[in-house]
């Protein structure tokens, strides 16, 4: 598999040991928590005096979010020490660790996402596969599908919105 710049997000997430992603997924499903994390990230972003001059605002956003996710994990582990092991919250944290249970959770999530992908129109599906699996650029995808680069962006954007909506109904 060629390493392309499209895997930037994957790399960023991977650098943080998957904890940010697990954290986000847990919170994507639990709306109040997701809002709380976003609020914290937001406040920290606001503290940057001149965010517009940051060379890569997206990477900066992920860094802020990962740092927060790590802080949360530490905080929750501390709490966990004094809480009953049967506590569902503790169980949830355990599932977050790269354990068998955590793996299952990710597999379940990907299986569900695969189903959601199949609901998309052929053009959206093909654009997603060509980008996320084959790592093609938008121009290359446009050539393969016989559409403009702008339409490719539209298809990918719609695909993401669709996945987001369907996946958030999981929890």
């Amino acid at each position: 598999m060629p390493e392309t710049k499209k895997t930037l997000v994957e790399r960023l997430f991977a650098e943080h040991g998957g904890s940010l992603q697990a954290f986000l997924f847990r919170r994507v499903r639990k709306h109040p928590d997701a809002a709380e994390l976003a609020q914290e990230v937001y406040v920290r972003m606001l503290r940057v005096p001149d965010i517009e001059s940051v060379r890569n605002p997206e990477a900066y956003l992920y860094t802020v979010a990962s740092n927060l996710a790590k802080e949360h994990a530490r905080h929750e582990r501390r709490d966990g020490d004094v809480v009953n092991v049967d506590d569902p919250l503790v169980q949830e944290q355990l599932a977050e660790l790269p354990s068998y249970a955590g793996q299952l959770d990710a597999q379940e999530r990907i299986k569900r996402l695969r189903e959601v992908l199949h609901q998309l129109s052929p053009k959206c599906q093909a654009a997603v596969v060509l980008q996320y699996w084959h790592g093609l650029s938008y121009e290359e995808i446009g050539l393969r599908l016989g559409v403009s680069t702008n339409m490719v962006k539209k298809y990918l954007s719609q695909a993401l919105v669709h996945c987001r909506r369907r996946m958030s109904r999981l929890g």
Binding site: A34, I51, E52, E58, L117, K123, V128
Partner: protein
């Protein structure tokens, strides 16, 4: 979550997705600035962006089973002419409802509770010639949708514009007014309340002017139809020399203007005129010819009625605009009706 919250939420998800996609291609200096401003505008933006990122992270793994038949997938994608636009918000009723069934699914009533903005005085306004681009004028923005596509835009004043299929509009805001020109198709507006800066929609020869309200404007080939969901709107022919010829419309009223001649306003169910917002089309004892015409606004293959006797067949039901198949299945279920799908069209005839 109220309907208006959900609309805003979906809109933000769409904006977040657009930015996420744009970021993969790399941003220009200016775009980077705009993106940073967008992210810093609301914690909701941060939340949606992060949620999408997490999903994107799993997409590669989710694609794994599709890559085996890549050629087949690409071939299907190339053949698929219908613009694959996903609904902006949850579909309220995906099933076909046949004649005689409950016309309105319960959730559809939620549309009626969209946040009401107080509405001030409406007045008639004549031609738009007195709007030269002065120093206060902001550059015009152009929005359009493809055949079968629907899209929502949030304007600078936080008014929302929902564009239906095959539609185009231009937005020009300045200090004195908010001017929108609907050049084709149909749009629904939820207008942010700004007493000092009226919101004007010009659709060919027809103009609607409001301060804050929700209404739908549809430009058909021979006429323009304005439907008011909330508030009040003044409608008239912009070429008319007689300013008193305007018509005041209240919520639940609809007016059709052909050329310069407005028909008398009708009392309508505004949920019906704005059903497309939920990817629905609603018919109540309407002739098949009209129903087919309505579907043809969205489908890739036009529906043609080849038996003249069928044109006046009455149809009632709620259909999904992006599910022609369900509509065809409904037609096939009618006695004596035959449906043939060819490479270029859908033929409806009598058995």
């Amino acid at each position: 979550m109220s309907v208006s919250d959900e609309r805003v939420r979906n809109l933000i998800a769409q904006e977040a997705a657009d930015w996420f996609v744009a970021n993969r291609a790399g941003l220009t200096f200016k775009e980077r600035h705009t993106f940073a401003t967008w992210i810093n505008a609301s914690p909701l933006h941060v939340e949606e962006y992060l949620a999408l990122s997490a999903i994107a992270c799993d997409l590669r793994a989710a694609c794994e089973d599709s890559q085996g038949d890549l050629e087949g997938l690409v071939a299907r994608a190339r053949q698929d002419e219908v613009s694959p636009i996903q609904p902006l918000w949850q579909r309220l009723g995906e099933r076909v409802r046949g004649a005689g069934s409950n016309l309105w699914p319960a959730p559809a009533f939620a549309l009626a509770v969209f946040a009401l903005l107080s509405v001030g005085l409406m007045w008639w306004h004549r031609t738009s010639s007195e709007h030269p681009g002065g120093p206060d004028q902001i550059a015009a923005l152009h929005f359009e949708t493809a055949h079968g596509e629907q899209r929502t835009y949030r304007l600078a004043d936080h008014s929302l514009v929902h564009l239906n299929t095959d539609s185009a509009l231009t937005v020009r805001y300045d200090r004195k007014e908010r001017l929108v020109e609907l050049t084709s198709g149909e749009a629904e507006f939820a207008v942010a309340h700004e007493p000092g800066r009226p919101f004007r929609v010009v659709a060919g020869s027809v103009e609607a002017r409001v301060i804050g309200t929700e209404f739908d404007v549809r430009r058909a080939s021979d006429s323009t139809i304005v439907t008011v969901v909330e508030g009040r709107v003044a409608v008239g022919a912009s070429s008319s020399a007689n300013p008193s010829a305007f018509v005041q419309l209240a919520a639940g009223q609809q007016i059709r203007v052909a050329g310069d001649l407005p028909d008398p306003p009708l009392a309508v169910d505004p949920r019906k005129a704005t059903a497309w917002l939920h990817r629905q089309i609603v018919f109540e004892r309407e002739p098949l010819e009209r129903v087919a015409g309505e579907f043809n606004r969205y489908t890739a293959k036009p529906i043609e009625i080849t038996t003249p006797g069928l044109r006046n067949l009455e149809i009632s039901g709620v259909f999904a605009t992006d599910d022609t198949e369900a509509f065809l299945a409904f037609l096939r279920s009618l006695e004596g009706v035959r449906v043939e799908v060819t490479a270029t069209q859908i033929r409806v005839s009598q058995n």
